[in-house]
């Protein structure tokens, strides 16, 4: 008898729970049916790792509103690390006025990989009045560019670096690296577009160009660009392989177009001599007026 009573209670409970679930889902369905004017959001992710530096994910949220692409600005994106079935929240970033945002990872050890050594991240947007919720998964494997340096053989400078697995330290062969010199907005490529790593995971690229650099210094980038598995990885080298820049500015000189504290000496001297040469007699003349006034008869 007790059993049947418990069963009855259980039945009632299950009924009530089911009812509520129906209510909930219908409620959500109402949400969707009411707001068909919410726009879909696309989240683009780019992963960049700088050797001996930070790694970061550049997020861009865009949406097609009335057939035009607009930036989804000032929205929160939650960043999760997906391990097996768990989602660990890493942080929240907010898109700027251009719909862009950057999530910086101080160290790769801040996130955990899965069993295949792949890091899985999820960027999620909860949605708001205007936009539907959206999310983007991003997976990548960690790789290192090591031993990036300049070597000189027979008087010719070469840029060399090795692509290796960070865990096993094994070299990774037959991947294409690029070598560039950092410039103001973009970087200038030197050598071939594709430099494949050999069986030791190494590339050796000659640098024979004459490029100017401040004080003769150039910053080289060895880049594994937008790889399907690894994202973008960069190693930076500073080397005095450039031609020192000769500054051309006349800012420090006395010129006709300088500010007043750098007036050409000729003008300074000549003009002031003229002014004094005229005004000293003028002042003398004015004093003469006083003299006349005070003259004794």
């Amino acid at each position: 008898m007790k059993l049947s009573r418990i069963n009855q209670l259980h039945f009632r409970f299950i009924l009530l729970a089911l009812l509520n679930v129906v209510l909930l889902t219908s409620g959500f369905q109402n949400l969707y049916s009411q707001n068909t004017k919410k726009n879909r959001v696309r989240i683009k992710t780019n992963y960049v790792k700088i050797m001996d530096g930070e790694s970061y994910f550049d997020i861009r949220a865009t949406s097609k509103v009335e057939k035009e692409n607009v930036d989804v600005s000032h929205v929160d994106i939650l960043v999760y690390n997906e391990i097996e079935d768990e989602k660990i929240k890493l942080g929240t970033i907010t898109t700027d006025v251009k719909g862009q945002s950057r999530y910086t990872l101080k160290s790769i050890n801040d996130i955990k990989p899965d069993s295949t050594n792949t890091y899985n991240l999820l960027f999620s947007f909860k949605g708001n009045d205007q936009f539907k919720k959206a999310s983007k998964s991003f997976s990548f494997k960690d790789v290192d560019i090591v031993d990036a340096k300049v070597i000189t053989i027979h008087g010719i400078n070469y840029i060399t670096a090795t692509l290796s697995d960070p865990n096993t330290k094994n070299p990774i062969a037959d991947e294409s690296l690029g070598v560039l010199v950092q410039r103001l907005f973009k970087s200038l490529r030197i050598g071939e577009e594709f430099n494949n790593t050999d069986e030791n995971g190494t590339i050796v690229v000659p640098f024979e160009e004459e490029l100017p650099g401040v004080d003769g210094n150039l910053t080289f980038e060895i880049v594994l660009n937008d790889h399907d598995d690894y994202g973008t990885v960069k190693a930076l080298i500073n080397a005095p392989l450039g031609i020192p820049v000769v500054h051309e500015s006349t800012f420090d000189d006395r010129t006709l177009w300088s500010p007043r504290n750098k007036t050409p000496l000729f003008i300074l001297v000549f003009a002031n001599l003229l002014i004094l040469g005229i005004w000293i007699p003028v002042i003398y003349l004015i004093t003469n007026l006083f003299k006349i006034n005070n003259a004794k008869t």
Binding site: T263, L285, I292, A295
Partner: protein, 438 residues
Amino acid sequence: MENHKTLIYDLAPRKFGKRGVIWTLFLVVIIIAGIVAYIDQLIKGQEVTNMRDYALWGIYISNFVFFVATSFVGTVTVAILRLTNNSWRTPLVRIAEIISVAAIIMAGITIMIDMARPDRLLNLFIHARLQSPITWDVVIIPTYIVISLLLLYFPLLPDFAILKKHFKKTKPKLSKWYGKLSLNWKGSVAQKTIQTKSIKIIAIMIIPVGILLQTIDAWLFSTTYRTGWDSTNFAPYFISGAFVAGIGALVTVIYVVRRVKKLEHYITDYHFDKLGKLLVLALLLYFYFNINEYLIPSFTAKKDESVHLNTLFTGSYATLFWFVTIVGLIIPIIVLLFKKGRKPYPMFFIGLIVVIGSWWKRFVIVTPTLLHPFLPIQGVPESWRHYFPSLHEWLITIATLAMALLIITILVRYLPVIPIQRTYEEQELLKTDKTIET
């Protein structure tokens, strides 16, 4: 003493008759209209003018150049004629100095009207850059104002003393003012020495300063790349133009003052004849510079120069150009070459058209150049390709001219227009030494 008394009676300032009062009121009304227009310009900005990004300088600047040029008359009559021992200048010098002072003060005021941010006037002094020709202008104009005032004032001292005595009974308050301004002038040896020395210094100094003033005014234009302005000829061209404008103004004002104050005795046909010869000399010199400026570039006919010259000879500014050249330059030369043309009455008209021609000539110098820059005028409204001053600009400009005339009027009203003491001394000298030529 009889002579002296007559002199004083003839030359002492008199109260304005009806004509004088009407004239003054007329000027005041024009000035008020100009001030109202200027306040409107301050509030709305210079969009009330017809200047735009291409015709960026208009009649405010050409009017300014005109005033600067006219102020040269002080240098010419007082200093240059003095250095060349032309004693006939005596009855004319006071009026010349008065015109000089009025013109250069108005030049200073007119240039401030062209500044779009007069609230930042002090920047011209606090942040002045010596490399800029405008800074040179900012230095030279106050300098010339001071020197012109000194040139006017020093010779006035004995006359003020005379007038103080003259008005003591009839107008005691006025007499007191004359007394203050005469700086206790007693005619003592000490005072006379100081005065003579001072006048000598001023007369010498004003020549380089006056020439410098005209030169810097020309350099405002010839330190740019613009065709029509970038000319090595510009400074002497402006100096000779100032000669013309100044003497033309002198002739006109002298005639009017002489008529109104009945000074035919003192300013005779002889004086007009001499002035006429001086004016024709100036006009011939100016004509020479005009040939260099406008005829010679058509010899090589560089494209930019040709465009500029065609605008003036046959294009949109042709009427004005030929008006100022023929009416303002050629006709006066022809008329003044004849003795009959140098009689007072014709001289008055010649003086008038020389002044009017001088004013419009500067308009022809300033704006046409701006309307054909190196790169074509595109991407702006069609009206920006032309320039004719707006009502605001006319009201303000005419008001500045009225203000100059008002200053002259007031000074003529209260100052003896012919130096009394000096005339007396010269006449005394003549009596004792008949060998001195008049």
